[in-house]
Symmetry: C2
Subunit: 296 residues, 2 copies
């Protein structure tokens, strides 16, 4: 950065790094077997990050938790899209994507980020969303309820707005279905006070997810459910590579490929024209993904 990151930027960086440690420790404990690797990396423009991954754990087939604090020049295509002159930026944040082995446990994704520009503009963004393979209403409602509580502490209009934003953002247009059952998504939150909101969300992330993991850990599944999970994971890949702004911005801005694509599921299948039996649990999932609903 031509200028130093602001005091707020440093506080956010400290928070996300501490959150990463706490989250990884809790996930190791929940997994029981998997241990997070730790790769420190540097960004071409300046700064760097820490990528932590579990592969082939007992509960988590792949779990990635990444933090970064990077600076650089805004990539030309992005500056164009944002209608700002090319200038230096500083960005820090945390991303996590957890792919459980059991098709009965949903995949979860969360991201909290802070971005500031040389010209002084600064904002927070992020969210958390759930992608089940077999939907259990109780689990989905729990996840949304916890996120709503985090939102409600700050303003009662937040959850409905950010829930809707999430439903609209995580859409596979070419399939006319949502990636999952949503959660919250937000961007362009300006003002130092929003750091409190970011912490409210970050501090509740695992409370929103880990009880679901415990509840579904013993749920039986076999080859058929595994097959469905692999096909649905393909949809996850399609969203991330075709539409996800964070992924595309990361790759475009010469980010660290392995840290950006750690979000992709471990094993995936693309079979031709898979259609679930009418009335099946798989068909019910598709119906939910095609018609976002209220969970709280």
């Amino acid at each position: 950065m031509a200028t130093e990151p602001s005091a707020l930027a440093s506080r956010v960086q400290t928070y996300v790094e501490a959150l990463q440690s706490a989250v990884c420790a809790a996930l190791e404990s929940a997994d029981g077997a998997g241990r997070f690797s730790a790769d420190r990396w540097e960004h071409v423009g300046g700064g760097g990050g820490l990528t932590r991954v579990v592969q082939e754990g007992a509960v988590f087939e792949k779990a990635g938790v990444n933090t970064s604090a990077v600076s650089g020049l805004i990539p030309a295509p992005m500056a164009e899209r944002m209608h700002v002159p090319r200038q230096h930026y500083f960005a820090t944040g945390i991303s996590l994507v957890l792919h459980p082995r059991s098709p009965m446990i949903p995949t979860v994704h969360a991201n909290l980020r802070y971005f500031e520009q040389e010209d002084g503009a600064a904002w927070f963004g992020g969210g958390a969303d759930l992608t089940p393979y077999y939907p259990f209403d109780q689990d989905i409602a729990h996840f949304h309820r916890l996120l709503k509580e985090a939102c409600d502490k700050h303003a009662l209009d937040r959850y409905p707005r950010f829930k809707k934003w999430c439903d609209e953002y995580f859409v596979l247009k070419h399939r006319r279905e949502g990636r999952g059952v949503g959660g919250i998504f937000f961007d362009s939150l300006r003002g130092d006070g929003e750091f409190d909101f970011i912490r409210s969300v970050g501090d509740r992330l695992l409370d929103a997810y880990l009880p679901i993991v415990s509840r579904r850990a013993a749920e039986p599944w076999g080859e058929s459910e595994r097959g469905w999970q692999l096909v649905r994971r393909g949809r996850y890949v399609e969203f991330n590579l075709l539409y996800d702004r964070g992924t595309l911005f990361g790759l475009e801005s010469d980010g660290r490929t392995e840290s950006i694509l750690m979000s992709l599921p471990p094993f995936v299948r693309w079979a031709y024209d898979v259609r679930p039996q009418p009335g099946s649990r798989e068909a019910r999932l598709i119906d939910i993904l095609e018609h976002p609903r209220e969970w709280v």
Copy 2:
């Protein structure tokens, strides 16, 4: 189309449909077990296509051969990129992507297409390229030699130009490596005479590929080679969803998703930060993908 497709358009459509039949028959014979399904589909704008797929064959784990002859209004973002007013178009072509089960047999992709606009502009495009998991120089040279012969019949500068174009097109920028070992790629070939060139390429496609299949069918492989193949197939997905213009245009123009994405490999793995042992066969592949070479 506001106006009827031209006489040339109909001849191209007839050719690609006949080629599809011939190719599917030859592939069934080469596979020995797999049989192509046949799905006729309609395009929202007009026309439609025929998608033929083998899944879980003896040789081909997934093989897709698709023809289409569709019309519609050029999608707004594409018209903008092409610097033309939005207008009706007619497009016909054939695409094939073959994913063998054995990691010793390369994946092959080919596409031949014709596009014409309401304002009279018309052109051919296409190409053929090879993606090995374990590179055998003899196979790669054979593939390139056959394509060179098809090119040389028309003009001696074609193969060098189209080979270079292919090397430049099939690049995963975020990984700084080619998708495969190339072949030929071309676009914007104008004039009725180019239909002869298209047929020269189409008529030699299987001659360029099937001898490789026979030669490598008995090559031994095990879990380790399979694992490498699955990881490399992930790169194939990354290219197709991030960069492939045909895929992105198809999805953008409300094409038939299952026919467009039939190109994606059947089983895929994303593991974190896979790096082959120095001096290994896998490392040699990466070196070839990072440094395109001359094969003929």
